[in-house]
């Protein structure tokens, strides 16, 4: 074989090899770039949808206040809000399943007008108050309850707070203020054994460093036998009105209270089963407590306005197979308080 043929063969083989390796290398380098715009585009689109849910008032703008109104277009923003990410108290409350006027998944899905999406909306305080009863000392005349209270973020980080505790029964009111440096403390409460009605312990917590970050916890004191929540009444607060629906034919309402961090009111009846909730400038949510009797058995039921925490929509975690699900965390204000809102969106065609 002549030398020129060997040279040509060698040169051609080298060129083919180099071209192939160059193509492989270029493909490997460009592959992420080819895929990335699609993912980024989907994430951006879903992010805009999540923002729209929080920044748009919906249609009609006051759909939250009217119990019978189903929104044509879904949005949780407060009409006329001065700052962005301010959510409407009533729209938020109507996402809670405990509320008799809550929107169903189908109603939200339809008004969202995004046929290729499934969603989940979670709203919760920026930190939680965890009440843990550590001991009960029963005396002949009174019972002493010892509690440990912790205010902490979801990751377990403790939050220094100012606590206001209320012990409330039909004929009893005790209040106490506690400086909770470091986020964990303990306290005792004493209740007479002769109380005719059950009592509840309500704890409000306000961050020492941010007045608008608040949370609460409610604990039923079981010195009387206590049925589970919702056994006798369904409490639905919207438009500063508490509507009470009896789930038992023998339930009779006796007293209704509204409590915030700084205030307490006894509510007066404005309709057959409705009570006016005072407009509060407090940053904390309003806890509504209803005392009543069912036949001869006294009971207490409670709810909160706005009805947070909320978890509504598809439970993506329990699904066997899930396409891409995107979570968008937002810091929102509801009323005067701060809350954390997470919107999960998924199921989009890519």
């Amino acid at each position: 074989m002549p030398a020129i043929s060997i040279d040509t063969f060698f040169a051609c083989s080298l060129m083919v090899l180099l071209v192939l390796s160059a193509m492989t290398a270029t493909a490997r380098i460009l592959q992420p770039l080819i895929n990335m715009p699609i993912n980024v585009e989907v994430a951006q689109r879903l992010g805009e949808i999540a923002k729209r849910i929080l920044l748009y008032t919906g249609k009609p703008v006051d759909w939250g206040q009217n119990a019978q109104t189903i929104p044509e277009e879904f949005g949780l923003a407060e009409a006329g809000a001065v700052s962005p990410y301010a959510l409407d108290v009533d729209k938020v409350s109507r996402l809670n399943r405990e509320n008799a006027y809550c929107l169903s998944y189908v109603q939200i899905f339809t008004s969202l007008k995004a046929a290729d999406l499934s969603f989940r909306i979670e709203i919760k305080p920026v930190f939680n108050v965890r009440l843990n009863p550590t001991a009960i000392f029963e005396g002949s005349n009174e019972t002493v309850y010892a509690f440990e209270v912790a205010s902490e973020k979801e990751d377990g980080a403790l939050v220094s707070t100012i606590l206001r505790t209320y012990v409330l029964a039909e004929s009893l009111l005790q209040t106490n203020d506690i400086q909770n440096f470091g986020g964990r403390t303990s306290f005792n409460i004493t209740i007479p054994n002769t109380l005719p009605s059950p009592a509840v312990l309500i704890v409000f917590a306000k961050s020492m460093y941010n007045n608008r970050a608040t949370s609460y916890a409610v604990y039923s004191l079981a010195h009387l036998s206590e049925p589970p929540r919702g056994a006798f009444l369904r409490l639905s607060p919207i438009n500063h009105t508490l509507t009470v629906a009896s789930t038992s034919s023998e339930a009779i309402l006796r007293r209704v209270y509204a409590l915030t961090f700084n205030s307490l009111w006894q509510l007066t009846q404005t309709g057959s089963n409705s009570f006016r909730i005072p407009v509060s400038s407090d940053v904390s949510p309003t806890v509504l407590v209803v005392f009543g009797t069912n036949a001869t058995q006294p009971f207490v039921e409670w709810t909160v306005y706005p009805q947070v925490p909320i978890q509504t929509g598809v439970d993506f975690a329990s699904l066997q197979s899930v396409s891409d699900v995107y979570a968008y965390e937002h810091l929102v204000s509801i009323g005067n308080g701060l809350y954390q809102c997470t919107i999960f969106l998924g199921g989009s065609k890519t």
């Binding site: 040169a11 380098i29 770039l33 980080a157 220094s160």
Partner: protein
């Protein structure tokens, strides 16, 4: 003689091809410059919302005016989600640094840092403008 030279030219061609192909690879490697990632957008959005909420009742400017850097740090710690590290710097309208202490949740272990710029004004009797630079990163475990 002519046939021998053409073999040598092909070798030169091969080396030229090597040069061209590797140049192409080198250039295309640089094309993989960062495109906007959704994670960075999310961090920027979280940081902006935290500053917006702090500023909505004037507490951001109040912390800065009072020089309450520990309060500002705790407040940001509370509002930002778990796993997000931050470092905050405050400048006046002449871009001189105002914060005398470090306002940070700790060292950044991530290389992807997002910057949020925010301008706020003091509600104190004296009108002041502050430029806030909030650096955010996802803390690595």
């Amino acid at each position: 003689m002519k046939g021998r030279n053409s073999g040598q030219i092909r070798i030169i061609e091969a080396f030229l091809a090597i040069f061209i192909v590797f140049s192409a690879i080198a250039v295309s490697a640089n094309i993989t410059a960062k495109s906007p990632s959704s994670a960075n957008n999310g961090l920027a959005s979280l940081g902006m919302q935290a500053l917006l909420q702090l500023d909505s009742d004037g507490s951001l400017a109040a912390y800065i005016t009072a020089g309450n850097w520990s309060g500002l740090r705790e407040s940001l710690n509370l509002l930002l989600p778990a796993g997000v590290s931050f470092n905050l710097k405050v400048y006046d309208n002449q871009m001189r640094q105002v914060n005398t202490e470090t306002v940070s949740s700790g060292g950044f272990s991530s290389q992807e840092i997002t910057l949020v710029k925010y301008v706020c004004t003091s509600q104190a009797p004296e009108f002041r403008v502050y430029v806030v630079y909030l650096y955010l990163a996802v803390a690595k475990q």
